[in-house]
């Protein structure tokens, strides 16, 4: 297990370097010299030349790449073309909106989805089991921004209980309004994620209920619930854990879109603004940080999966 973790950690680091390379290439493939974006329309050739020297984009790609890796290693993501502020500062400010939004929605979704998914499988032939299955089917097909718009229509415009969007200028120093403006976005993402997670939990539990080892446990006299608790859930957890990482990333992406619905100043709106303004350092910074977060989540999900399923551990099988 320790050997596996070391190897997995090396892979994680290699992945990060590879991701940095892909991103570097992708952003250099974009049309236009970033220097043009820096100096704006109508700049003289001398100004453009000066901007290129300042950015280092007049140097060879290799030199640029080495400098870029060095900056990354020091967590220096450069400065925004537009605001001239260090990208890392802007990102940490934006993350203070996006991360709470993502995690609140994700944990609310897990809290709802795991028990409901198990019930949907175990009580598949009772009416409430059927209703739960239908709800998870229905929920997965609801576009997240549509649900956002409908919730705004109902709870902000019609009932006037909650703000329809925006975030207090003073942020969390205005905790009441900050929390208020997060309720609808969190709810929007969490409801969709609950449906999606419930499907996996239900499907995995159904497979386990169908398994030989559970039938054997029942034959040896264990009750249905007892057998499921003792042998079933651990087995059902394996496929579920393997999608948890992906689900968390999806939640994060949902946040990107939902931030737009509710005009929240998070990472998603930073990326969108960056793309519109051709603010490459900001775009690159957001993509690097998102990639880092998703890779870490994948790493943790893999480790957790091994802990749960000894079969994956034997003979160094992966």
């Amino acid at each position: 297990m320790l050997g596996y973790m070391t190897r997995r950690l090396v892979i994680l680091l290699l992945s990060l370097v590879a991701a940095a390379i892909v991103l570097f290439v992708l952003l250099r493939l974009l049309p236009g010299d970033p220097a043009n974006a820096l100096v704006g329309v109508g700049a003289t050739p001398e100004q453009i030349e000066a901007a290129r020297a300042q950015l280092g984009s007049d140097q060879s790609l290799l030199v640029q790449f080495v400098a870029y890796l060095g900056d990354l290693a020091r967590f220096d993501l450069g400065q925004s073309f537009v605001s001239r502020a260090p990208v890392i500062e802007e990102i940490s400010r934006r993350l203070s909106v996006t991360l709470p939004l993502t995690f609140a929605a994700f944990f609310l979704a897990m809290l709802l989805a795991i028990p409901l998914g198990i019930v949907a499988a175990v009580k598949a032939r009772r009416w409430y089991g059927l209703v739960l299955s239908v709800v998870s089917q229905v929920g997965i097909a609801v576009p997240v921004f549509w649900l956002g718009i409908l919730l705004v229509y109902q709870f902000s415009l019609t009932l006037r209980w909650l703000p329809s969007g925006g975030f207090p200028l003073r942020g969390y120093e205005d905790p009441g309004r900050a929390v208020q403006s997060m309720i609808l976005p969190v709810l929007t993402i969490a409801l969709i994620m609950t449906a999606s997670l419930m499907r996996y939990v239900r499907s995995a539990t159904l497979d386990v209920l169908d398994s030989d080892f559970l039938r054997t446990a029942r034959a040896l006299g264990e009750s249905r619930t007892g057998a499921l608790m003792r042998h079933g859930l651990r087995n059902a957890a394996v496929p579920v854990v393997s999608v948890l990482g992906i689900e968390l990333s999806t939640t994060f992406l949902g946040a990107v879109v939902v931030e737009q619905v509710f005009s929240l100043p998070g990472l998603g709106s930073m990326l969108l603004l960056g793309i519109q303004q051709r603010d490459y350092p900001n775009v690159q910074g957001v993509l690097i940080v998102s990639t880092l977060l998703v890779l870490l989540v994948g790493f943790l999900a893999d480790i957790l999966q091994r802990v749960l399923d000894p079969r994956l551990r034997k003979e160094g099988g992966r």
Binding site: I11, I246, L295
Partner: protein, 282 residues
Amino acid sequence: MSAAGAAGPRRSRGGATYLLGLILVGVIVAAGLISFAWTPYALSDMAGSRLEPPSPAHWAGTDRLGRDLFTQLMIGARIALVVGCGAVAIGGAIGMVTGILAAFATRFADDALAAVFDILIAFPTLLIAMLVVAAREEASLGTAILALGIGLSPIVGRITRILTKQVLGQDYITAARVSGTSWGAIVIFHILPNIVPFLGVNLALQFGLAVMAEASLSYLGLGAPPPNASWGRMLQEAQSTVYTAPWGAVFPGLALFALVIGINLLADGLRDRLGRSGRDAG
């Protein structure tokens, strides 16, 4: 659910959901196909007054420029289907082949492929698609499909790899190997039948995700430019007038919802059938 106890009720329910899925997808496919030959109005024809509610003249009402929303919905169906099919075909093919290869590969190659999946998954599809679409002066549907398809492939690959490895750890694989079955036959007769039901569910989800991702791009203002009426762009335009004209936000969302749920129901029906025939064969 135990196989013996539930075969009866499950079969009929599976049939009903399968049929419902078929109807929902069928209606949308029909709408998309008919839109090539006929739509109630021309797409950019300001045929009514602004923000009309649904009426016999305008079945889904009109937008803020007085254009017919039902016409836009029909054209939107066409776009959603093309995006979904294209992205799943690209992503499914790449993902399944690489996933099975990874599971069979030597430890080093498997690690390398697993790392590649992780790296690619780590590039959130939607963000990359946003970047690619925004980078092009002329946003095109083809670019979006390719970006979404490639974006989906590592997810399919990762799940295929994990599922294949689980199957490979089973005793009957060892038994098959000992009795001289070739690896090719093992892939076809043991691995595919065991992973396809789970993957089928997943591919349906991916179809839905691709359609949703395109709608999200359009909603964010990064979709195919007018006159392409995407459901996502319709929702974006309707959001500002949702209080006075809620139907403008309801219908495109319902259409998206119907397509995605229809596909999922079809896949679920398929999963039940595959699961049953798999058990019968075994």
